[in-house]
Symmetry: C2
Subunit: 419 residues, 2 copies
């Protein structure tokens, strides 16, 4: 796809932004079948079922991952569309797939019919729920999106979301770790394409914005999802309490400076939303002031979209009980002390106020152009995989081809030969 058309697309998206979503009443993350296993444990009943790719991977792990990632693109999606994924069949598929054309997935990616998305998603969801005994997953299909499953639609009630659920994923902790590694390889590839397209200064960029309560796992996302990318192409910012210089400007000043340039993957660890979360809950400014900020943020994000920035907003959603357990762990383990701050208890005491503030954020700023994704995060392995997949889906959606040569290849080959 040519860059001009990408910019056009971005502008179209921008026009749609700020109009909040109007469709359906489906809540994100509502298809829970979570048990009450301890944090990060495998889900009961599926723990012994692998993805069928644990053995005979006698090559370097990166090659394994690259290889299986390709396979997943080709095969897993089909399984999802079929609406029934038997474990045995999955293994057979995998055993025979080496002989298939690895490029198929890529081609399908570029030519897919986007109108068909909704139907396919339903089929995939059906498949997911009817295949509850498998350890396979459906995310390899470019038409099946974690993004859509987890998107905060109008009417979403945060209190109704099961924070232990694993919507859209039928695997367990073990398979999720494998799937995460597969995803890292694809993420690395797509990020390089993004970077390559930004070389001339006008390509698209992507912003991953991560919010969540203390202990919700933001750090793990940074390490396990973002960590798989080339730091040379990442613009990462962790927003803390504003400095005096930042305080002297509008609250969006520091945010604007942190936006990714063309080709970059921007990453926000906390964000402008703290200015309507911690600021609102702790009444740091008058209500009349923070009330205005939702619209200001929407306008700001619309402008970012118009600049070709794909905005991917993720809320890591944990329960109060899970936070208590995680804070407890930080106090039990010397290697976690450094993450603990006595002030965490005071913030924790305002849990309900924070949930109310997050609910307002979702209601007021989950726009068509930049919707929120609410990721159940009591199980870290699920949250990491889900955020990675949401990011991957947005990157795939850019249909990034390698940019054409900006020089005459034959001429340069000749010049090189003479050296």
């Amino acid at each position: 796809m040519a860059k001009t058309s990408k910019s056009k697309k971005a502008a179209d998206r921008a026009d749609e932004a700020v109009e909040t979503l109007v469709r359906g009443t489906g809540t994100a993350a509502a298809t829970s079948d979570a048990g009450d296993a301890a944090s990060d444990d495998a889900k009961p009943g599926t723990a012994s079922k692998g993805t069928g790719k644990d053995k005979d991977q006698g090559t370097a792990e990166q090659e394994i991952a690259r290889d299986t990632a390709k396979k997943s693109k080709n095969d897993k999606g089909k399984k999802a569309k079929d609406g029934k994924a038997k474990d045995d069949k999955a293994k057979d598929d995998k055993a025979s797939k080496k002989s298939k054309d690895d490029d198929k997935g890529k081609k399908a990616k570029g030519t897919r019919d986007k109108k068909d998305k909704g139907a396919k998603r339903e089929a995939a969801l059906d498949g997911a729920s009817s295949a509850a005994t498998t350890g396979s997953l459906a995310f390899g299909d470019p038409d099946f999106t974690f993004s859509e499953t987890l998107r905060a639609e109008r009417g979403l009630v945060l209190a109704d979301v099961d924070t232990r659920a694993t919507p859209g994923y039928e695997g367990d902790k073990k398979s999720a770790a494998m799937d995460l590694v597969e995803g890292q390889t694809e993420l690395s590839d797509l990020q390089e394409r993004l970077w390559a397209n930004g070389k001339d200064g006008d390509g698209p960029s992507v912003l991953l914005l991560v919010q969540g309560m203390d202990t919700s796992g933001k750090g793990g996302i940074m390490r396990h999802v973002v960590g798989a990318t080339d730091p040379g192409g990442v613009k990462y910012t962790a927003f803390k309490a504003p400095t005096p210089e930042e305080r002297a400007h509008d609250f969006l000043w520091r945010i604007d400076r942190a936006l990714p340039d063309p080709g970059q993957l921007g990453v926000f660890d906390r964000s402008q939303y703290e200015d309507v979360l911690v600021v609102r809950v702790n009444e740091l400014i008058p209500r009349s002031e923070w009330m205005r900020r939702y619209a200001q943020i929407n306008a700001f994000e619309r402008a970012a979209l118009a600049r070709g920035i794909t905005v991917v907003k993720v809320m890591l959603h944990i329960s109060s009980d899970e936070q208590k357990a995680r804070l407890g762990e930080r106090l039990d383990r010397p290697d976690k002390y450094y993450k603990y701050n006595p002030g965490d208890i005071a913030e924790r005491a305002r849990w309900d106020d924070y949930m109310e503030a997050y609910q307002a954020v979702l209601a007021k700023t989950s726009t068509k152009g930049a919707p929120w994704h609410v990721v159940p995060a009591d199980r870290k392995w699920y949250a990491r995989l889900a955020v990675q997949q949401i990011l991957l889906e947005h990157l795939r959606g850019l249909d990034l081809e390698w940019p054409a040569a900006t020089f005459d290849v034959a001429t340069e080959q000749e010049r090189l030969a003479q050296t």
Copy 2:
């Protein structure tokens, strides 16, 4: 180790800086037995010998890596010390090591006798050369250092370095990929410790500075070595041609701003050395000016050391022929076009001038406090592993313990229980 003593150590190091190394005549990277296999190919004769850990790794890859990384700390070092590592024995060691105390390696790390380093290194080198038929490696021993093997001692002649060699490593491409993954896990852990120790604003920091000719593999280092760390704890800077603002300042101004803060891993993709490389070769400023810069750089680095920054300087050293092959590949593959710049040919024409400039850098700025490491880089898999290990060795050398709690644990546990 307490932080005050770390700062003390840094100051001591600083005092030694700028005095160039005086010992021995050994050249780095001189123990070559490299064949003439194509770029990145496995070394002849060892291709079929793995590290014995290709099979039965039936768990998630990260767990595999974590597990094997621990093992390597316990076992591989011993093999190096023994001075003979038979492949079969290596496999037996690995098969039985699961029952051993995984913490042993860590304890040994903290209490090792540093005076004994030289002798151990020699033994390890002996071991490496007499064990040329094994696929195992010796780097797990905290006393054996890639850093020492590759350090640019006084008298190093760049032209004598075999750029296809793999000094200190007896494995092949395949085992190196596995070892790299193992190293990523340890690197991630040590970086988190570094970060944790910087939380209160006065811990140590580490700077990895990477230089090399076009196509020498700097990008691969960023992706495969630095990429394994938490982007939240990394301060990464790619130095390009200076901007007008940067030009308005001294050449070290932008470098100083890019130095890591306490707890951070700083990464320089190119560096202040471009100001005595590209600047010198292209005569961008008068000779009298760039001649002064070596001493300025040494003084600058001495100040950085005094601030608690461990400076790790790496030169990726490729041959002219290898560069030609890599540029050719960029012209053959559409996914590599974006990395090619017609100006690369003009720079390539000045190869000898660049080598002379690099030789001057090594002679004038490989100080005791901040020595250069010359990494043969015709084999990308070796260069990545070597740089990772050099970085790991420096991080291990900081003896980073998890910082003590800055609060009363029992009190906080009680407060938490009441929520």
